[in-house]
Symmetry: C2
Subunit: 496 residues, 2 copies
């Protein structure tokens, strides 16, 4: 099957009209049970056909003895049977003319020579039939646009536009659980597993032209076909950013990767060079990959390196400035007209330079106005806002303390009202910032200094939306990566 073929047929995996689960089960601790449950609970928008020769009903659904018994057509067959019966099961799938396969079963090339032979036979049969196959030894695949959750873990992230190709299934589901917890929108996830037929480069080609994907996240341990990977990545990065993390960067890590996925990790320097040549953004660790993807998905790219900082605490302004400079960006210089405007807004003892310390003035209108003045400044390419978003938490606790100290009777009412008020204020601030971003095409990044989850706003098709980090270093890191990507696109004449 050629590259072009994959691009056209992978829709059958991510947007199937019907899914059969072969090896569906009522036994709680089996993959065939997990996947069936998650597909049902996830609200899959299509037909579900559990297949198992020994069961009558699974989760209240009729069960088919074999795939051939399924009455309708099957776009996707998920296989979760023991390894030794997989070849027969796949044969039946081919006879049934299923359009695509996800083989969850492990026990193939990752276990040694016997498994490798079994996998090769399987791949030959499947390639001959011209069916796209994910795996084997994969955590599964999901697509929020179709509410398709054929994965072994109960992860139901919000619909969005980040898609994740991962050679480690665990890493995939755990990072998607972070996404779900932080309201970060996801389009697709696929565990590439042993990559017997479809490799990372094929998924990249598919996602590059997928209308529901805006950012591609990639975890990889090794690449078999380096030149195809490079070519696929080069084309993709001109359309959308790829944020990649390489596992097995060190010799010891490479050995661990080999025992994990059976892949040869390859030379780390070579891979870094491939990333650089192809415009892939390399993340240092899983957490960074995730944080960078949030920024690329939700914010406009900065068109320069001059950053304005608005802070409610002087110390945080200092640390953010250090991080900016250490990571290669500049503290923007505020021109006189900007200083004059801020003079009319802020108390006389304000810093009169960037970072703009609001010296504890927790007044939403002042804050929003200051951010607008700075964002509009022609010498500012990006803005970092520290301390205002997230402060509601502490505001409510302050109220609570005073109420508790005075033995007030109606504490609950008081607090509920305050919570609503604070939530409204934060929402208003974020809305105003989003308007500013859409109008001026400059990123505004929020840092919540009190405990709280990092989070991204619901990004509409038409506009940018908020990103909230928990440390200033994360905000700076994202700006650096986005500015570098802007320069890459500009160098290729893709943006002005």
């Amino acid at each position: 099957m050629t590259e072009t073929d994959y691009k056209n047929v992978l829709d059958a995996i991510f947007y199937p009209e019907s899914v059969a689960i072969i090896g569906a089960s009522n036994s709680f601790n089996k993959w065939g049970s997990f996947i069936t449950a998650h597909l049902i609970v996830g609200g899959y928008m299509g037909q579900v056909y559990p297949v198992n020769p020994k069961e009558e009903k699974i989760f209240g659904r009729n069960v088919y003895k074999k795939i051939g018994d399924v009455p309708g057509k099957v776009d996707l067959a998920v296989v979760a049977t023991p390894a030794k019966v997989v070849p027969d099961v796949v044969k039946e799938c081919i006879e049934k003319k299923v359009k695509s396969l996800v083989i969850v079963t492990s026990g193939f090339s990752e276990t040694g020579d016997d498994g490798k032979r079994l996998e090769e036979e399987l791949a030959q049969m499947i390639n001959k039939a011209g069916i796209p196959m994910v795996g084997p030894n994969t955590m599964g695949a999901l697509c929020t646009q179709k509410r398709l959750f054929t994965v072994g873990s109960p992860i139901f992230p919000r619909k969005g536009s980040i898609s994740f190709v991962t050679q480690s299934g665990n890493l995939g589901v755990q990072m998607l659980e972070w996404a779900e917890n932080n309201s970060v929108g996801i389009s697709k996830m696929v565990g590439s597993g042993n990559e017997a037929c479809i490799a990372k480069e094929h998924y990249i080609e598919y996602l590059a032209q997928d209308k529901d994907t805006r950012v591609i996240m990639l975890y990889l341990e090794g690449v078999d076909d380096g030149s195809h990977f490079l070519e696929a990545a080069k084309k993709a990065t001109l359309k959308k950013p790829i944020i990649a993390l390489k596992g097995g960067r060190t010799a010891a890590g490479g050995r661990a990767a080999h025992s994990h996925t059976g892949s040869m990790a390859g030379d780390s320097a070579v891979m870094t060079s491939v990333f650089r040549q192809s415009g892939i953004i390399e993340a240092k660790n899983a957490s960074d990959m995730y944080d960078l993807s949030m920024a690329f998905d939700s914010l406009p790219l900065p068109r320069g390196d001059r950053v304005g900082i608005i802070t409610l605490g002087g110390g945080w302004g200092v640390l953010t400035t250090d991080a900016l400079v250490e990571q290669g960006l500049c503290l923007a210089t505020l021109d006189d007209s900007v200083i004059e405007k801020l003079d009319t807004l802020l108390p006389p003892f304000w810093s009169r330079s960037n970072p703009i310390d609001l010296v504890g003035q927790v007044i939403p209108d002042v804050y929003m106005e200051a951010v607008q003045i700075v964002t509009e400044c022609s010498g500012v390419d990006a803005v970092i806002c520290l301390g205002m978003i997230g402060i509601s938490n502490i505001g409510i606790r302050t109220l609570l303390s005073s109420a508790a100290a005075s033995d007030m009777d109606n504490i609950e009412y008081y607090v509920r009202e305050a919570q609503e008020k604070y939530q409204q204020i934060e929402q208003d601030i974020l809305s105003r910032f989003n308007e500013l971003m859409n109008q001026l095409k400059k990123p505004i990044i929020n840092v919540s200094l009190y405990s709280g989850r990092r989070r991204a706003g619901l990004r509409l098709k038409s506009g940018y939306s908020e990103v909230i980090y928990t440390t200033p270093e994360k905000a700076v890191q994202s700006l650096v990566a986005m500015y570098n990507y802007y320069k890459f696109l500009k160098g290729h004449g893709v943006v002005e």
Copy 2:
């Protein structure tokens, strides 16, 4: 007042028997109101005397017109009046023979020359009287052992043994809010403010001999008396670790620091050299300072660089190995007897080398046994455990999914029972690990890969307790810093 004097009198600030708040207030948005409320709500174990010439009652307490009217003795007077009346207030405090002062009021040297003169006069008067004074321009001080929360923000961390000296009040309270949210135990926090009388080096000397402090956290922007600071730090680090973060490391950050606290940031290279000479552990950012302090507070120091990794996901094992090697530690080699023991415990296709991938075997007894075997291995100095702690979250969701898919009636009961069971399992695992740490004096660090807060266990006087991070890189970073500190202590003959 000399260094020795401070060491002896600072108890009056942190362990006062009675506190007067001068400028206490009923107006919700005033510092005098915040501090009084927090002191009361925090459960301060001593007498509270609100002082305000215009009020009768504050939070139901009798109010004194002036400090001289307070009937009993006053160990600590917190001053939150406007700057211009501070000198008169302090005069009255001296007459009243208060034992210590916290001057929260701002508007002194940080605002320019006039403020600087006012501050100098104040310092002279206070030094002459021989009273220790925190500030001015400080967020306040707290001591959990006395339940003393004379701070402007409602932060009530758990009693513990990390003490924090911070030149930025905001940074101080925000980091303590992280501590509160993650159950990390704190002993003291003090915002050093403008340091008119007591400087960072005095606090270090005091905390070095404070029996309730096991780890010192330090945020600093500049140091006035470099040689005193170096000398104090040198002595302190032989007794307990100091984890420090320098704000104003870059020229631009230094200028921001100057406008923030009025302090000259000084040369960053000089400060890094001072840190190195004195054995201070330098953190790269606030989040790292916090995470390192947790580890030093709760775990035994590793006496070597050989690390064992036990993981429930292969990809995470690979990434942890990369982080280990990149940060200068080694992957421990498992000797044959250890491999043999693990062979009897794990399925035949386990990795048979470090990292030990439990290949999805979520069986608590197997997990605990594997960790014990690895920790007991003489070639292992420290252990990182990935994936087991925190998995309860996902376990419960899996149950929920299956229950929801089958339209079960008694979901709530089912889930409650599962939650209790999982919590018990995690508690059992952590208890076993803590026993192992106490017995073998080797650190075992947990990484919870699903969303969740980093957290430290309640450390008993007599033993070590668990630390849970959210990324493997944090675990590795802590081991590196602890091993370096071990070598520092060994080089000075303090440990074997």
